[in-house]
């Protein structure tokens, strides 16, 4: 009970207000001559919500949905080698973790780097507090892997301390498939998991997060989506909205004031319930619940 109260208290913390002016995130990045040889090859570029599309052709909307403030891009050169660092300042730690989980997939670790991250020879992605950072080594040279980690370590050392994200604790740990947990703040995040309807079907309004994860047990597998709201009335409104706008490929088989059961396009089932401030959807169930 205490744990549930703590989780909901964390969820109800107000989000950081939008930045009133551009923040200089270049202070987070390595300076000229880093490791003795890496020089900045271009002036840094900054992108805001208004022009993020200028940098990301395809996918900027995902950042905006989670809550984006500013991107700082800095290119470095050492002889024929190039690195590009992208530092995304998100609105809050959940926004940064949300975009990280979407981008990282199953995490693969780099040797000698302890921050939460995933790495391959082309890209190292890390997440801390409200920052999501990518260190790009797009030539993919294996020999630069240790340099990639040094860049990431330098940046991690400049970032604000880690901040807990309570929403993921909405997911029960038992049976959760490792690497499947996601945060959702709207239509684009949710569609990666399951389509319950058009648009912001859970009324998350880009300011609250739902959590999702895949589960496996002896009884079968399913996907769980859990959203916490400020109060029961808000959760009820989200449930009503979902009922009224349920995806056209989902067929209602049972409907009660606080429970909805549907059959989907692949003959699997889903059940949505609302209890207090919590809305929960279990989907891809083999048997009718």
């Amino acid at each position: 009970m205490i744990k549930a109260v703590v989780i909901f208290a964390l969820l109800m913390l107000p989000l950081a207000p939008p930045a009133a002016r551009a923040v200089d995130d270049t202070v987070l990045l390595p300076q000229d001559g880093f490791l003795g040889a890496w020089k900045k090859s271009d002036p840094p570029k900054r992108f805001t919500e208004a022009d993020l599309y200028g940098y990301i052709d395809g996918g900027a909307e995902l950042f905006l949905e989670y809550g984006f403030e500013q991107l700082t891009v800095q290119k470095y050169r050492n002889g024929a080698d190039d690195f590009t660092v992208e530092a995304y300042r998100m609105t809050d730690p959940a926004a940064a973790l949300g975009i990280y989980l979407m981008k990282a997939g199953k995490e693969t670790r780099a040797v000698g780097f302890r921050e939460r991250h995933t790495a391959n020879r082309y890209q190292l992605m890390l997440c801390r507090n409200r920052y999501f950072v990518i260190v790009n080594n797009l030539a993919g040279r294996e020999a630069l892997a240790s340099v990639q980690v040094k860049f990431a370590s330098y940046i991690a050392g400049k970032l604000p301390p880690p901040s807990p994200v309570g929403e993921l604790q909405l997911l029960p740990r038992e049976g959760l498939v490792p690497g499947s947990a996601r945060l959702v703040r709207g239509a684009y995040g949710l569609q990666a998991v399951y389509t319950l309807g058009d648009g912001d079907i859970l009324l998350l309004e880009r300011k609250r997060s739902a959590a999702s994860g895949d589960y496996k047990s002896a009884k079968g597998s399913y996907t769980l989506i859990v959203a916490g709201y400020a109060d029961a009335a808000q959760a009820g409104r989200a449930f009503d909205h979902l009922q009224k706008n349920l995806d056209r490929y989902l067929k209602v088989v049972e409907q009660k004031p606080d429970r909805l059961v549907f059959e989907d396009y692949s003959k699997k089932y889903g059940v949505v319930t609302v209890v207090g401030r919590r809305l929960e959807a279990r989907v891809k169930l083999a048997q009718k619940p």
């Binding site: 200028g54 052709d57 900027a60 239509a187 389509t195 058009d198 912001d200 056209r248």
Partner: protein, 402 residues
């Protein structure tokens, strides 16, 4: 002198009478897939209303012998060779061999007769590439090398070949330059300034407004490229899309110069859907398409392909699946990029996309990525089939290994 014409481009075009009859598209949203830039966010809370477009006008234009789906509806050829990509090295010779096998297997003819099937030596052939996501998941220049060689070996003058995409700087970033492709034209339909500070001429017009044909367009009633939810900077919209308003104009390159098009897509996802053949041409041939992402979704691509300027010129589709990306697309995400060692060939872009969609879906499943296989993500393909533009029934598609 035009004073900032692009800001008032919802004025009637020169031949507005062309639009007296509007097609009505029952535009169920294709799921809000991430479709490229820019998309507007799904703030909508009610199902979308049908969108009126000029599709009916497209459909009234008689088809030609070159019209999509071409001579081989429902036929998809896959050429696979593990030697094509080893580590990060693409082998141009192996790739050229794959292109030859793919084309001859598709047509049942040798390369010269295959050329004659689609082209003559006076054609101006546009090669539409996908430069998004370099260097990991864009159309590979080596594939284009092989296509250029095929065309020139058959007698097409190099100056009759144009490698093109919508944005100029992306072509450069992906390696499509005149230095790399000597004697070949390389053209973006428009200039695009990443930071949005250098895209107007001295009169305040977008530098590229004259690159688009006011007489040839996709119209979508009431869907305008300004004041869209969560799209705060109208100026930046114009930087990227050249015009606001209800009209998306096709590039003059397509309407006035190219006589044939080869569509060379990359092999990648966009959300639970794919960004391959239909989307490569559907969102890359015209301006002001950001407005269409939510109300029309991937059906935008279907309607664009139905436009005679595309339908009657796009004679061949080659999807570059030497590398694939099964998640995190359409921009590069190395975590999900893999060597797929395959090229795909079809005259029917809808059959091609359906086969590739299903393949990529299985890849996602195999890699443990959550699969959302809601049918809405392939509706645009069955929609294309309903318009007579291709085959979107797996049972009616023949997949040939070259």
């Amino acid at each position: 002198m035009q004073k900032y014409r692009s800001m008032t481009a919802n004025l009637p075009p020169d031949r507005r009478e062309f639009l007296k009859t509007l097609g009505v598209c029952s535009a169920a949203v294709s799921g809000g897939a991430i479709l490229g830039t820019p998309a507007v966010l799904g703030a909508q809370t009610t199902p979308p209303k049908p969108v009126e477009t000029n599709l009916d006008d497209f459909m009234k234009v008689p088809r030609t012998k070159f019209s999509v789906p071409g001579p081989f509806p429902g036929r998809v050829v896959r050429a696979t060779d593990a030697r094509s990509l080893v580590g990060d090295l693409f082998d141009g010779k192996v790739i050229a061999s794959m292109v030859q096998k793919g084309i001859t297997s598709l047509t049942g003819r040798d390369m010269k007769k295959s050329f004659d099937l689609f082209f003559d030596k006076k054609d101006i052939v546009g090669i539409k590439v996908n430069p998004v996501g370099p260097p990991l998941i864009n159309t590979r220049p080596e594939v284009v090398d092989a296509i250029v060689k095929w065309l020139t070996d058959a007698g097409l003058p190099p100056q009759n070949i144009v490698i093109w995409d919508r944005f100029d700087y992306m072509l450069t970033d992906a390696g499509f330059t005149t230095e790399r492709f000597k004697g070949i034209r390389v053209e973006g339909l428009q200039t695009m300034d990443e930071k949005g500070s250098n895209w107007k001429d001295k009169d305040g017009n977008h530098l590229s407004i004259n690159n688009f044909d006011r007489d040839v367009f996709l119209f979508a009633k009431g869907i305008v490229g300004k004041n869209v939810p969560n799209y705060p900077n109208d100026e930046f919209y114009l930087n990227q899309h050249v015009f606001n308003g209800e009209y998306s104009y096709f590039g003059k390159l397509l309407t006035q110069r190219l006589t044939k098009i080869i569509n060379v897509a990359a092999y990648k996802n966009t959300g639970p859907a794919i960004s391959m053949a239909t989307k490569n041409i559907g969102f890359g041939s015209l301006c002001n398409v950001g407005r269409l992402h939510v109300p029309l979704g991937l059906r935008t691509s279907t309607q664009v392909i139905a436009a005679p300027v595309i339908r009657d010129k796009m004679v061949l589709n080659i999807t570059d699946g030497l590398r694939g990306q099964y998640d995190g697309g359409p921009d590069k995400n190395a975590q999900f990029v893999y060597a797929n060692h395959s090229l795909y060939f079809a005259t029917d872009p809808f059959a091609l996309d359906l086969i590739c969609h299903n393949e990529l879906k299985e890849k996602r499943r195999a890699m443990g990525v959550t699969v959302n296989d809601n049918p809405r993500f392939t509706e645009y393909l069955t929609y294309g089939a309903s318009l007579g533009l291709g085959v979107a029934d797996v049972g009616k598609i023949t997949v040939v290994k070259a």
